[in-house]
């Protein structure tokens, strides 16, 4: 068995790939076939290994790099070892280095798809002086070099190579000794290249041989070709080359085309990817518009604009056009939105901002304001027409719910109103006002704020200060419109309570508008309207009261309540007072009271007059009410009463009259009660009401024009009622005097024993007492007024009768007559007006004086006697009520009735 191979020597011990290496050692194979493996630096070189002897093998290094063992493997000895090592390196070749192989000196081009250059040996510089350049840190200044050598170059390969420049550039800091050594080295080198051609050939004999072989081969080939193709094969060659080129191209055409396509696609893809944002934009815009993400759209648009505004690329332009088109539609949509749909202020602002950001033409902010104002106006218009329609329809069909609101008026409000209408029977006009209020409340502030934002520059547009005026006009006209519409609905056909309701609503708006800092002329439109409304309210309230007062008569129960000092009245005056107070209070709290920014209502004289008239009207109404109570209720029976008058011969008949009302009162009683009511109203209520109104802050009534004439019409009524009563009571009373005087053939000429006053006197007194009682029953305050009239009439009649006596009085006749008259005078003393007294005195004058002294005494005597006898009757006519009572106690009620 042969030992394994050992490599102990190597020549050379280092070199570039392809270096011819002599390997020496032991047991390197007993023959050439025994050598089966050679590895240098891990690189298999078996193929080029040449076995020379068991001690020597010649090989060529592979493309290994770095230090490594030389491992020889033989069949006989197996894998060997190595005591020496080979170092492979990649040689650098330069102008100072001879090379037997062809080296590309031009800088190696790197090909498009980054393949390495085919040649493994790169052309690199080496110092021609064989000196290390490492130490030469210090550089010679570049500008000085330029100064010295101009455009010469220190590069060895350059055509303008200048050795001086080279030395300064590379060996600026090298010592002279080293430079000398370098020069010697260079010289040796040049010499060796000149003379050592043999050694060079020896060193590269392999390459030279190869080249020689190739040249011989070429020569053979050429000679052969000359035989085959003639002396000038160029044409054939050319066609062949062309053909082969075509073939080659054919081979690669497809691939190249595919590659081109792939490249194009890749390019397109990368462009697409790079400008994904742009290409996706139209879709994104579309989607964002659909989702209402306008901000995103704006952002994207701005970005695109910024990036591609000035693009020249056709595709981009196309996309841009598409985007532009979409944006334009968006602008349209936004503009329409701005015009049509009622939005909240914020939405509105947003749309405007969006439009501005989208660089919409014109002044979208101003357009927004105008369209907002238009919308407000339209809302008002549709609202009014709708409600008016519904009103008319309601009038016709009484179906208000049938109205379909398909217009822009807020549905909810309307629906709400309609249902409310069903429940509360709110008049359509009031609904209309409410709806208008809602519209104003909803839209006007927004309009105003929009305008404010516009002028304060919050909308980010250039503010057109000239628009201030038109804007104000817009607001004013909007308000005017709203007010006009409301006014149209607030006609007098409305009930006062609805007026109040509307007033309240409108005041609410007013208050909120005041908070808005609207210009004062805008507010004034509302203020004026409110003022009018307040007046209307005032009037309406009083009108309502008047109506109620007129209806008071139905409430009359004729139950008398006695008041100290004022006699008996019914509830009427109190009702009246209550109503007046109520309405004045209500009016004060609603119409009169001044809200914010409201003027006092009753400062103006005209308005005062209006108020006076209303008060007057209430009184007049009350007067009318009382009048109706006093007269009209009995109109149908008046005739009957009158027919009964002749029968009224006895005072008792008055009470037994069949004409007794359900209340148990006769007309006369009612007249009296009315009289008392009127009196109470005039005397007590009027001052009290006056006072109260004044206290409540109403203007003083006493300054009213015509205050002193009978503005309440109560005095006139009073007279009328009194007259009616007197007519009822006096006429029969007076009428029966004459027949009574002559009952029983009274003859003032006869001489009869006179013991008493004549029956007619008693009759008269009894009748008066009856009236007295009747009046007193109602109110003692009326006694004097009523009775004095009656007494006047009675005394006038008496005087007439006495004066009519044409014949002579007998002495007893004188006595009788005088006694009668004197008794009358005494009895009626309390109710005698001067005129009545005059009548009585006239009567007495007409009666002759008593004939004798006895006669006179007799008169006195009889008078005394009769006074005693008739004490009860006489005391009835006394003012002192206690007298009557004591007398009544003395005599008893039976006697009275007997009278």
């Amino acid at each position: 068995m042969v030992p394994p191979p050992v490599v102990t020597g190597i020549s050379p011990k280092e070199g570039p790939p392809g270096t011819r290496i002599t390997i020496r050692g032991e047991f390197l194979g007993i023959k050439a076939q025994d050598l089966i493996g050679l590895k240098i630096c891990g690189c298999d070189c078996t193929l080029l290994a040449e076995w020379k002897s068991p001690n020597k093998v010649i090989a060529r290094s592979g493309s290994c790099k770095g230090r490594g063992d030389i491992i020889v493997t033989t069949l006989s000895g197996g894998q060997g070892t190595s005591t020496v090592q080979f170092r492979g390196y990649h040689e650098t070749i330069g102008p100072m280095k001879e090379s037997a192989v062809w080296v590309e000196e031009a800088p190696v081009q790197s090909f498009a798809w980054g393949r390495r250059a085919l040649s493994p040996t790169n052309y690199q510089q080496e110092d021609p002086l064989g000196l290390s350049v490492e130490g030469n840190v210090k550089k010679f200044p570049e500008d000085e070099l330029f100064e010295l050598y101009g455009d010469a170059s220190g590069e060895l390969t350059s055509e303008k190579f200048h050795p001086g420049m080279f030395l300064l550039q590379h060996h600026h800091a090298t010592s002279l000794d080293d430079l000398k050594a370098g020069l010697a080295y260079l010289r040796r080198k040049v010499n060796s290249q000149k003379e050592g051609q043999l050694s060079f050939l020896k060193a590269n004999v392999g390459s030279v041989m190869e080249q020689l072989d190739t040249i011989i081969l070429l020569k053979d080939q050429f000679e052969n070709d000359l035989k085959n193709y003639g002396t000038n094969p160029m044409e054939q060659l050319e066609t062949a080359i062309k053909e082969s080129m075509i073939e080659a191209n054919k081979l690669f055409d497809d691939i190249l085309a595919r590659r081109d396509r792939a490249d194009a696609t890749r390019n397109a893809l990368s462009v697409m990817h790079r400008y994904k944002f742009l290409f996706c934009m139209p879709i994104n815009v579309e989607r964002n518009i659909k989702n209402g993400n306008y901000d995103l759209v704006i952002n994207d648009y701005a970005r695109v604009k910024n990036l591609f505004k000035n693009t020249e690329v056709e595709v981009f332009k196309k996309v841009l056009r598409e985007i532009e088109y979409r944006i334009e539609t968006l602008r349209e949509v936004l503009r329409k939105k701005l015009e049509e749909v009622p939005f909240s202020l914020e939405d509105q602002k947003k749309i405007i901002r969006n439009l501005i950001n989208l660089e919409a033409e014109g002044d979208p902010a101003w357009d927004g304001i105008v369209s907002y104002a238009n919308h407000l106006e339209k809302s008002i218009k549709t609202c009014t027409t709708e409600y008016l329609e519904s009103e008319s329809r309601e009038d016709d069909l009484k179906i208000s719910l049938a109205i379909k609101s398909n217009v822009s008026t807020p549905m909810s409000i309307k629906q709400f109103k309609l249902t409310k209408n069903e429940e509360n029977n709110t008049p359509v006009k009031v609904q209309c006002i409410e709806a208008l209020c809602d519209i104003v409340m909803e839209q006007l502030p927004d309009l105003w704020r929009l305008g404010q934002s516009y002028f304060t520059g919050q909308l980010h547009v250039t503010v057109d200060a000239k628009k201030q005026r038109p804007f104000k006009n817009l607001v004013l006209s909007s308000i005017q419109n709203a007010v006009n519409a409301m006014k149209a609905s607030c006609d007098s056909s409305l009930e006062a309570s609805w007026f109040l309701y509307s007033l309240k609503r409108i005041r609410q708006i007013y208050a909120s508008l005041i908070h808005l800092d609207l210009p004062s002329d805008a507010l004034d439109i509302f203020g004026k309207f409110i003022f009018e409304l307040r007046l209307q309210c005032l009037v309406g309230l009083f009108k309502q009261t008047v109506d109620k007062i007129l209806l008071l008569k139905c409430k009359e129960t004729w139950e008398i309540e006695y008041l100290d000092g004022d006699g008996g009245i019914t509830k009427m005056p109190l009702y009246f007072e209550e109503m007046v107070m109520e309405v004045s209070k209500l009016a004060r709290e609603t119409a009169i009271i001044c809200g914010p920014r409201e003027a006092p209502l009753l400062e103006n004289l005209n308005h005062q007059t209006l108020y006076y008239n209303e008060i007057k009207a209430t009184f007049a109404a009350f007067a009318r009410c009382l009048q109706q109570l006093a007269f009209n209720c009995n109109e149908d029976i008046i005739d009957d009463e009158f027919t009964m008058v002749p029968q009224l011969t006895s005072s008792s008949t008055v009470y037994k009259n069949k004409d007794i009302k359900p209340h148990g009162l006769t007309w006369e009683q009612r007249l009296l009660i009315s009289l008392s009511n009127i009196r109470y109203t005039l005397k007590v209520l009027l001052p009290r009401i006056e006072e109260n109104l004044k206290f409540q802050g109403y203007p003083d009534l006493s300054t009213t024009v015509g205050y002193n004439s009978d503005w309440t019409q109560l005095k006139t009524l009073d007279t009328a009622v009194l007259n009616a009563y007197l007519e009822r009571r006096c006429d029969p009373l007076v009428g029966i005097i004459e027949p009574n005087v002559y009952i029983g053939n009274l003859d003032w000429n006869s001489n009869l024993q006179i013991v008493h006053v004549k029956p007619y006197v008693q009759e008269i007194l009894a009748n008066i007492i009856a009236v007295h009682a009747e009046v007193r029953h109602v109110s003692p305050c009326l006694l004097e007024r009523v009775l004095s009239h009656i007494v006047e009439s009675v005394t006038e009649e008496l005087a007439r009768l006495i004066l009519c006596i044409s014949y002579r009085f007998s002495s007893s006749g004188i006595i009788q007559a005088r006694t009668d008259i004197l008794l009358m005078k005494k009895a009626l003393e309390n109710y005698c007006s001067p005129r009545a007294e005059n009548f009585l005195d006239e009567a007495l004058k007409a009666i002759p004086q008593p004939v004798t002294k006895e006669d006179a005494q007799k008169i006195d005597m009889i008078l005394t006697k009769v006074t005693t006898l008739m004490q009860l009757q006489l005391s009835c006519l006394m003012n002192n009520i206690d007298n009557v009572n004591t007398t009544l106690k003395k005599i008893g009620y039976n006697q009275l009735t007997a009278l």
């Binding site: 102990t8 020597g9 050379p12 001690n55 020496v84 064989g130 000196l131 060796s192 050694s199």
Partner: protein, 201 residues
């Protein structure tokens, strides 16, 4: 073949220097493989290593055969640095090569910075006495001046071939022992010695 643990084996690094064509490679190959190469193939740098028995001790000798050609002068510095002993060869038939030994000596001393580096001046091609150009006295004079031994060899006849290598290895070995003792004992000894020599010279 005897196999001893390699780690314990001493390794002596010998470097062949001298002008081109003086027979460095011929000497090396004769020593290594007992063959004489008639053809001249300029060397770049060859490496040889084998086991030898030096005075009964098995050691390894590493021979670096360098290029005599001036082409490779630049790379000599690096090689010299690793050498422990030098065989400075000239051909007795070529005076230029003898003159060049001065230059080699200086370069070695410069690189190694050591006056006592193991060094033999070798005059080769002693078989070609008829072509002698460098006299023995001349060569001995120089070797004495340097303080190194002078030996004449023939790569062709193998005269003194083993001697120069073994003599150098011995010198190297003794230097190593000296160095070891110096570094074990007084560290500054070598520097001192060097200085002394300088003074003597």
């Amino acid at each position: 073949m005897s196999k001893k643990p390699g780690a314990a084996q001493a390794l002596h690094k010998v470097i062949m220097v001298g002008s081109g064509g003086v027979g460095k490679s011929a000497l090396t190959l004769q020593f290594m493989y007992d063959e004489f190469v008639q053809d001249y193939e300029p060397t770049k740098a060859d490496s040889y290593r084998k086991k030898v028995v030096l005075d009964g001790e098995e050691v390894q000798i590493d021979i670096l055969d360098t290029a005599g050609q001036e082409d490779y002068a630049a790379i000599r510095d690096n090689y010299f640095r690793s050498g422990e002993g030098f065989l400075c060869v000239f051909s007795i038939t070529e005076d230029d090569s003898f003159q060049a030994t001065q230059e080699f000596r200086e370069q070695i001393l410069r690189v190694k910075n050591d006056e006592n580096i193991p060094f033999l001046l070798v005059g080769n091609k002693s078989d070609l006495q008829e072509k002698r150009k460098v006299s023995l006295a001349e060569a001995q004079g120089r070797s004495q001046q340097w303080g190194v031994p002078y030996v004449e060899t023939s790569a062709k006849t193998r005269e003194n071939v083993d001697k120069v290598f073994f003599d150098l290895m011995r010198e190297i070995r003794s230097r190593k022992i000296e160095d070891k003792a110096a570094s074990n004992g007084r560290g500054k000894d070598r520097a001192k010695r060097k200085k002394k020599k300088c003074i003597i010279l």
